[in-house]
Structures are given as structure tokens and as C-alpha cells.
């Protein structure tokens, strides 16, 4: 009875405005609000609203048999709550079906685990609280920013009481074992591990509209047929991808919505196959073995490591400088400063500074609002400079930021 586990990541960073050195000390507002609005509206129109409507329809049609999971970063939640309540409402309708699981992650879509255990824990607990408040679900599944994973992370997540954690099904940790099983992370008692089947996931997320691909065009029938060849009672096929795949990365014209629309029916056509959310998989599957992952892995690039965010000296310098402000930020007890500091933790800011592949003009460039990784670094460091100057000033001097007690 193999199960299919679909999880979609929903995230939009808070893009920063062009912030010159000569703005330091004068301008304390760092967000490119217009650009963030523009992109959120576009993605809402092209992806979130139509895809949510389609999923709702599919869930109703298959009366409980079609199930999916989402993880909404706290950063995108902030934006949706402020600007697009209609999008939030459509996610809540999905939650109300009982067929949709909402996962937990670090609220700021951050790399905090690598720099501050305290901050990591605080962000996970905050996100858990928000998801509970918005969707009425107690988080059972944890997924880290960009599917970053290691033994140490698994242990920390185990301690936080989660039932299951997600990671990339890379050969680096699997060896010759199959990604289509539940595993036990090394050193963990209860926590289970689900691994992304990257070939099947990327067939949809990356290759769907690639005309040069030998399988193009990909139909739901063909794709379901590939899944059906996966046998075994204990099997679970984990298809994890960005939600923006539907309508934004793969445009409507590519036929991606027709594909998604036909997929559940095609998969369920085989009587042994069914859909489960990650928490349901964890509850019904025993671990097939233990996975040891001493170093960090992720779902990014061919390297599947941390180099997209912390691969060069600029990225490391920026991240170290940011987390170097932590104790000063906490002592300050100023909500505005604290929120800004968290907003600056979003992994995308570091991704924009990546010089790997920059020359070849690939996916990194596509997502980068800056002309070059160097501009991204300069801009970020100017903002950090201003933030740390604000921290040094007497509190009374900052009139536009109200000091409040924080739920840290």
C-alpha cells in the first residue's frame, strides 16, 4: 500500500530596498514595500488563489482521499496577513477540509539553527503558535528552511516534540537505500525522517515545461504510471516542492494546472495507492533504518549543501555580523528593532550574495533582485550598519519605534 506524500512550500522573502551607504544613520526603513506588494499580488493571482481553489475542488471531489501539506513561512504569513486576507482565507478553507496539514518551520525562514540555538527555538515556537492560531493545528511535522538537515538539527527537533522531520533524499545520506521509506534520524528516539524523492519532485518543479527534456510533455497519466511502478507495502513517495511551481515558476500556459488537476485521479486509479500528509505517514510507517547525517544537507543546487547561503566570505561575514547583534537586540527590548533583526535573518538575503554559478546566469540570477551578489552584500551590510547604530543610540532618540515587552 504505497502512499504519496505531497508537501508544498509557500514563501516570499521581504525584499530590501536599495540602501546606500549615505542612507546609514538617516533612513531606518529597509523594506522595498512596493516591490513586495507587486510580487505578492502577482504570485497570489498567478499561483496561490487559483492553485488553492483547484486543491479545494480536488479534495472535495475525492472525498478525503486526496491530502496535501503546506508549510507557510512566517515571512509570507506576515505579508499575506497585512495585504492579502483573501489568500489567507483560501488557505483556511483548505485547513477546514481536514485533509491538509500545515507544517512548522523557523518563523523567519532563517538559518538561526547554525548561529543561535536560542533564536532557533524561539522562532520554531513562534511559528508553531501562529499556525495553531491560524489553522487550528498543532504542528507534528517540522521542516527546516530550504530543507536544511543534520543529525544535530534532528536531535533539537526531536526535543521540541515533533513526530517527523523532512529532508532531501540525497545519495549523500542514503547511499544505495531508497528515498521511498520512512527512516529514523541517528540518535533520535521518536522522531521519524521523510526524504524528498528529488527526481520525481523535480520532474514537476523544474522539468515540467522543459521542451528539451525527453519526457516532455509530461502528462498526469505518465507521471502516475511512474509512481505506480514503485512497489512495496512500506513505500512512501515524498514529493516536496515550492508551491509557486504552479502558475509562477511553471506558467499556466505550460498546462501545469491541468496536470495538477488530473494527478490525484490518475494516482488513485491504482487501488493500492493513497495520499497521506507527513504526520500521517509518520504515524503509520515504521522506520526502515537509521540515517546518519553528520554534516548539513539541503535541497539547493547540485551540491545539496549550505554553499548557496554560506558558501563565500561575504555570506559568512553578513551572517556572523547579523547574529553578532543578537544580545544587543535582546537587551534593547524594542519591538521594531527586534522584528527588523528577524526579518534580516531570512535565508534569501544570503542567497542573493551567492557567487557560485553567478557567471552562468542560472536560477540564482532569476531570483535575485540585485544586479550582482556584490550589490546584495553591500546593500545588506549598509542596513546592518544602520541597525547597529540604532542599537548604540539612546532609546529616547528613536521616536518612531515604541519600546514594548516582547514574547521572546
Amino acid at each position: 500500500m504505497p502512499s504519496v506524500c505531497l508537501y508544498f512550500q509557500v514563501h516570499q522573502p521581504c525584499r530590501l530596498r536599495r540602501y546606500s551607504f549615505f542612507d546609514v544613520g538617516h533612513v531606518h526603513d529597509y523594506e522595498d514595500e512596493a516591490e513586495n506588494h507587486r510580487i505578492l499580488d502577482r504570485v497570489a493571482q498567478k499561483c496561490y488563489l487559483p492553485a488553492n481553489a483547484l486543491l479545494l475542488k480536488l479534495i472535495e471531489e475525492h472525498s478525503g482521499k486526496f491530502r496535501v501539506a503546506f508549510s507557510l513561512s512566517g515571512v509570507v504569513l506576515d505579508q499575506i496577513e497585512r495585504r492579502r486576507p483573501d489568500v489567507l482565507e483560501s488557505f483556511r478553507r483548505l485547513a477546514a477540509t481536514g485533509c491538509v496539514e500545515f507544517l512548522n518551520e523557523t518563523d523567519s525562514h532563517s538559518l538561526a539553527f547554525l548561529f543561535s540555538p536560542r533564536e532557533f527555538r524561539a522562532q520554531v515556537l513562534l511559528h508553531r503558535k501562529r499556525i495553531r492560531a491560524l489553522f487550528g493545528q498543532d504542528g507534528r511535522t517540522f521542516r527546516h528552511t530550504e530543507l536544511i538537515y543534520s543529525n544535530d538539527l534532528a536531535k533539537a527537533v526531536d526535543k521540541l516534540g515533533y513526530a517527523v522531520i523532512l529532508a532531501e533524499g540525497t545519495e549523500k545520506i542514503l547511499g544505495r537505500r531508497s528515498p521511498n521509506r520512512a527512516y529514523r534520524p541517528a540518535g533520535c528516539g521518536k522522531l521519524k525522517l521523510l526524504l524528498r524523492n528529488y527526481r520525481l519532485s523535480d520532474d514537476v518543479a523544474f522539468r515540467f515545461s522543459e521542451a528539451a527534456w525527453s519526457e516532455h510533455p509530461l502528462t498526469a497519466e505518465k507521471y502516475a504510471h511512474w509512481l505506480h511502478r514503485i512497489g512495496g507495502k512500506e513505500a512512501v513517495v515524498n514529493l516536496f516542492m515550492d508551491y509557486e511551481t504552479f502558475g509562477e515558476h511553471q506558467w499556466r500556459e505550460t498546462g501545469i494546472f491541468e496536470f495538477l488537476s488530473a494527478l490525484p485521479g490518475e494516482i488513485l486509479r491504482h487501488p493500492d495507492f493513497f495520499f497521506q500528509t507527513p504526520a500521517e505517514v509518520a504515524a503509520s510507517h515504521d522506520p526502515a533504518g537509521e540515517i546518519d547525517c553528520p554534516g548539513f544537507i539541503s535541497w539547493a543546487d547540485v551540491e545539496r549543501d549550505m554553499t548557496a547561503w554560506l558558501g563565500n566570505a561575504m555570506q559568512q561575514d553578513a551572517a556572523r555580523s547579523l547574529y553578532g547583534l543578537e544580545s544587543a537586540v535582546r537587551r534593547r527590548k524594542d519591538e521594531g528593532i527586534f522584528k527588523t533583526w528577524r526579518m534580516l535573518q531570512t535565508s534569501d538575503h544570503f542567497y542573493y550574495m551567492c557567487t557560485k554559478w553567478f557567471s552562468d546566469g542560472d536560477v540564482h540570477r532569476y531570483f535575485n533582485p540585485f544586479e550582482s551578489p556584490y550589490e546584495a552584500y553591500i546593500n545588506y551590510m549598509n542596513i546592518l550598519d544602520d541597525l547597529s547604530q540604532s542599537l548604540k543610540q539612546k532609546k529616547e532618540c528613536i521616536h518612531d519605534r515604541d519600546a514594548q515587552t516582547l514574547p521572546l
Partner: protein
Amino acid sequence: MRILMFGWEFPPRMSGGLGTACFGMTKALAGLGHRITFVLPHAGETSTAPFLDLVSTSGIPLSGPDPEEGETELLRRLTVHPLPALLSPYLSADRYRDLFLFGEGRFRDTAAVYGPDLIAEVARYGRAAGALARRLSFEIIHAHDWMTVPAALLARRISGKPFILHVHSLEYDRSGENVNHEILEIEREGLGKADRIIAVSHRTKRMIVERYGIPQEKISVIYNAVTRAEAQRVYRVERKGDRKMVLFLGRITFQKGPDYFVEAAAMVLRVLPDVTFVMAGAGNMMGQMIERVGELGIGSSFHFTGFLQGEEIERIFSMSDLYVMPSVSEPFGISPLEAMMYDVPVILSRQSGVAEILKHALKVDFWDVREMAAKIIAVLKHPVLAGEMAEKAREELRKIRWETAAELIVEIYREAAASAPERG
């Protein structure tokens, strides 16, 4: 193939990037097995290029004072209207005399090399080309910039071989809207009559199409490259770290935007007083720049070196922490590539051809002095930024090779040779 090439500069005697480009290009073409006769107005001590035949027109006797038979109309016109005020191919004349006040040749520019009457020189060079075209056998005429146009046209008339004009710089680049009409005419005629045109960037191609009305199809873009000196760098990198140095290197003329560099320097120095700015080169705006530096009160942190060449250039690169090219209009701009060879991070004007190919450099609009200053500050303040840029630039440089450019040039030779009708 045998190529008759007309140039105006060749190392070590040169005032800018044209000579550097001709050196790298001819060396790579020779490496592909092609034979080049390179014609220069003066040869002098030039003998550093065993891979080609260098010919100086200064040694060629002309057939008396009268125009030789079969001379082109262009050449005849040039002799009638010499332009004594014009002193260098890359200079508009005003304030040029300031340079001579410095004396000693230390601040000299091409004028010192080529004498005061450039157009007369161009005409003399052009006429000598006739004698050469008769004497030598070749399949292609390849000429660099307007100074060599009369020569190339005469050579084509005599030989009937295809003429390829390689554009490294246009009068609109050099002089903005204050163009010299005589030079413009020569350019126009050369561009119009050339069988094929090679532009050093898309920026230049666009200008040729828009300003001179030349059809796109006739123009191919081939980027310049950089020659790695066979001998290793003479100077090791000798940056000390305590006091950072920011370099401008180029002719101090309108085209190169030295004034923007000076204004940016003043803004930087208000924030980072421990920085030295160096303006290396000479040109007709130098006096004006010295005055402005005085006015801004930054003289103790801002130095003028005068005209540099050879080892002096290598030395100044090796001492620099940052190279800035603020050009107002730069068809290509080879010097950032040279700076990168010395691991010097680079800030480029977006109004340059080289910006089309360099990814690991910071780019600014030349007029945006504030942004230029902000970027200078960033590179000086953040060693990790400078380090990352230099490291990636090194990888990038490996791909910018004259060998690749030479292969593209040969392709154009072949096409031109195949399609050009024989002329009598």
C-alpha cells in the same frame, strides 16, 4: 591568410588601449598561423613582436609633393585642409597646451610622439600605404580606427582586397557632442565604405547604427581580451592595508570621466579620510582636475602621477586596492581587465563596452557620483567583498582570451574574402 593591418599604436609606444589591443590580437592571429604586416606611422624602438612584420611609414619615400596617381578623394581632401589645432587622435584640443607647461615630457601624451599636426600625419600615413599596397601581397586589409581609414581605402583601391574596419573608439565617444567634423567625416566614409565592420562592443555597434546610419548586418561585435604577460608579473602585489589606494588610470579627457572620479573621491574622503586617490595619466583636462582637487581641499590625499607606461603601469596596479573606470563613453575599456590581473577589484561605468562582459565587477552610471562614492566606500570597508570580487574575477579572466577573439576575426576575414568582388 596574409593580412595587411593598419594601426596607429603598438607597444611600447602608445597612449592607450588601442596599442594593447592590437598587440594581443595580432599575437593571437599569428598563433593561428596567419601572416600579418602591421603598418605604423613610427616604428622607433618597437621590435617586441617577432610574430609579425612591423612596417613604419616613416621610412617609406613618397612620390614627391604631388598627390600620387590613383589617390583616393578622401586623401586629396585631407591635404587641402590640414587641421593644425588637432593634436592627438583621442584629444579634443582645448586646454591641451596646459600639458606642455609641465614640460620634461613627464606629462606628455601622444602629441609628443606624433607631432602637432595629426591630420597631416594621417594623410602622410595614408599616402605611404599606397606604396605598401603595391609592394606587398595580401588577402585582407584590416584597419583600426579612423586614423587608418585613408590608408585602408587607398590600399583597397590599389589591391581590390576587402577592407575590414575595426572600431575601437568613435568621435562621439571621445568628444561627446563637441565632435570634430573632419574626423567625423573620415569615420563616416570609412564605416560606409568598409566591406565589414568589427565593433568592440554592442554599445559601439549601436552607436555605429544610430549615429552613422550603417546597416546592422555589416557589423559584428568582437570583444577585446587581455594578454597575460608571458613573463610573470614583474611586481608582486604590494598592498599594505593600512592606507588604501584607489586608482584612476587613463587619459585625463572628457571621455574618461576624470571629473566624476574627483567628485567621488571628495565624498569618500569625508567618510574615510585615510584613503589615497591616484589619477594616473595625462590629458587635456588635467589642469582643470588639479584645480578642482585644490578647490575641494583634498590635495593631500589625491595624487597625479602624469603619463605612465610599461612597468610603471604594472607597479601602480600592484599598489592599488581598487580600480575605478568612470568613463562617460567607453567603447570597450581594456584597463579593467589589466587591473583584474593584479587582483584589484574594479568599479566600472555602465557606459562601457567591457561592462557587457564583466560580471564580477561593480557597475555605476558615470554621472551618479554618490553611488560611485558609496561603492568605493563599500570595497574599502569590506575586505571580504574585495577578496571575493578579485577571486571570482580571476576565474572570469581566464575565459576572456585573445585566442577566442582571433578565431572570430578570422571567420570575418573568410566571409569578407569569399563575398568581396575583385576591384581593379
